[in-house]
Symmetry: C2
Subunit: 326 residues, 2 copies
């Protein structure tokens, strides 16, 4: 690689500079999966680990915050759901001195204040151009442009055409690409599109430090993007009041097959909901979701998250060199 | 650009080598829009122009074949719909000595024989991994992995995660990326994903040589990806028996808004269909579709297609240099 025109240098971007990290990679703050151990491992690997603070269950979050602060001295952060997180929980989290707070799904205005007042970099995930404008108005330091191929919840745009449109709108504010990125080629594509890095979720579920159950990890190794499907049945059955505009993408299972296209009927069927919740509590994957993005095809092993972070960056660099014919 | 490590060299790939062209860009063979003039202009610009042969209307196609052969001495080709084109029309087309024939949407086996027997490179567009296997079995020389963000008809996968999965499957067979690619950044991303180039449709509708009506071109300049929507209402109303697995993406209009989610009802409503066909014949864009991909945000001018082809390649090269930090 000595003849590649200097491209073995790190992939420095406005995001790596702003956060003081080595690789342009952030861990998606996946609820129940991205705990303190996974966030610390991504940070130790040179990326930005983000704990999945979700709606703000403080007992869970306090434990994971203790883990991340005990395990890494590198930058890390926490993500919350903008439509439901409690501002008080965000404030308690800021006492742990995260290096970034991320808000996703919904208007970030109500939660942004405490973050920016504390001088903590604010990352806001957006799923359309109106949300991107709203995020810039709220003072976001970094935008995440998320495509509908992402695992878990999301909007209606696709990553490849959406990222450059958001980058054009954001001007100097760095944009991360999210949705469908699961290997170095995807990270390289994100950078080529004008993003300053990638936010990666599903791929990090299949790591040593993920909190995902072993049968979930196996399902990700076996599944392809075509085994994933978006819908609202799972949220309806578990009583999670997600805004309808954000359906969730998961591996198809018996439950999603049964209720696809019949979500109104499910909402009125209390017995079916109770059956779901009982099976969900048991972790029965015929019912419980394995949230998974379309990049699932590309997941073939279960490395440590730190090693994976370095590998993604090295593979992205190699992909860019190859693409440029260098 | 003298200090970029040699990256001002052309973006040579297995596709440019196989077709003997300069830039890794193919024109999507859009029916009623990609005629002989547009195909010749893309070819003269260094890409591969493909006439939209669609289902094989010979009167239209013979005229456009005369135009393309009269205007360019560079490689060009024709695309057909695999689910409906007449093998006799494909054979008549081969008499014009195209440099490639492309088959899209459906099993290519029945039409592939005449093409490969004539020694003409066969390009097959695929929308999932099963179709990719089928295309390789049919002897495809080039695959096109098309994502659902494409304008017009398509399958269910998204471009960014789908392309590397198809590239892994295809091995040495070159893969083009399609869907949502409308500027140099998108082409650069395609190459970073492991594609040997990009097949570009919507962007080429807004060129001097496109057969798209001026009000359609204006709608593309004004529209964003969020103004597009996929559905089957247009095909149902015009009596086009497209396989239901391939809905079409177009700019939302009065007609698509009225019938979204009510396609079965439309199929039974002959008066509504007649109303559509009458307005369609007049070119009334409150009814008639402006097929448009999600990359529509990125279309801001109406250049000549030859200039655009060169600009896409130059911008892609620059995007790769920037992404690699060069």
């Amino acid at each position: 690689m000595g003849d590649d025109g200097g491209m073995t240098a790190p992939l420095r971007t406005a995001f790596t500079t702003a956060l003081g990290i080595e690789h342009p990679i952030a861990l998606a703050p996946m609820g129940n999966c991205a705990g303190g151990a996974l966030a610390a491992a991504v940070s130790d690997g040179g990326g930005l680990g983000l704990i999945g603070g979700a709606r703000g269950d403080w007992d869970w979050l306090a434990r994971e915050l203790d883990i991340v602060t005990g395990r890494t001295t590198r930058p890390w952060g926490v993500g919350f759901l903008a439509w439901s997180a409690d501002p008080a929980i965000v404030r308690r989290t800021l006492e742990y001195r995260p290096h970034a707070v991320m808000l996703s799904f919904g208007n970030p205005a109500a939660l942004a204040g405490p973050v920016t007042d504390a001088g903590v970099p604010l990352i806001v995930q957006v799923t359309d151009l109106d949300e991107a404008r709203q995020a810039l108005d709220a003072g976001a330091d970094v935008l995440v442009a998320q495509g509908s191929e992402a695992g878990g919840h999301g909007g209606a745009r696709s990553t490849l055409p959406f990222v450059p449109a958001v980058a054009d709108l954001a001007g100097p504010v760095p944009v991360l690409a999210a949705g469908g990125i699961a290997d170095g080629r995807g990270l390289a594509a994100a950078l080529a599109l004008g993003a300053a890095g990638a936010l990666i979720g599903t791929r990090f579920q299949a790591t040593q430090e993920s909190l995902a159950a072993p049968d979930m990890v196996k399902a990700l190794l076996d599944g392809t993007g075509e085994d994933t499907e978006r819908g609202r049945a799972i949220d309806i059955a578990r009583g999670a009041p997600w805004p309808p505009r954000y359906p969730g993408r998961a591996l198809r299972n018996d439950f999603t097959r049964r209720w696809a296209g019949r979500e109104d009927e499910l909402a009125a069927d209390e017995a079916a909901q109770a059956e779901f919740r009982e099976a969900f509590a048991r972790g029965d994957l015929r019912y419980a979701p394995v949230w998974a993005g379309e990049g699932t095809d590309l997941i073939t092993d279960v490395p440590s998250a730190a090693d994976l972070t370095g590998r993604l960056a090295a593979d992205a660099r190699a992909a860019l060199v190859r693409a440029a014919g260098g």
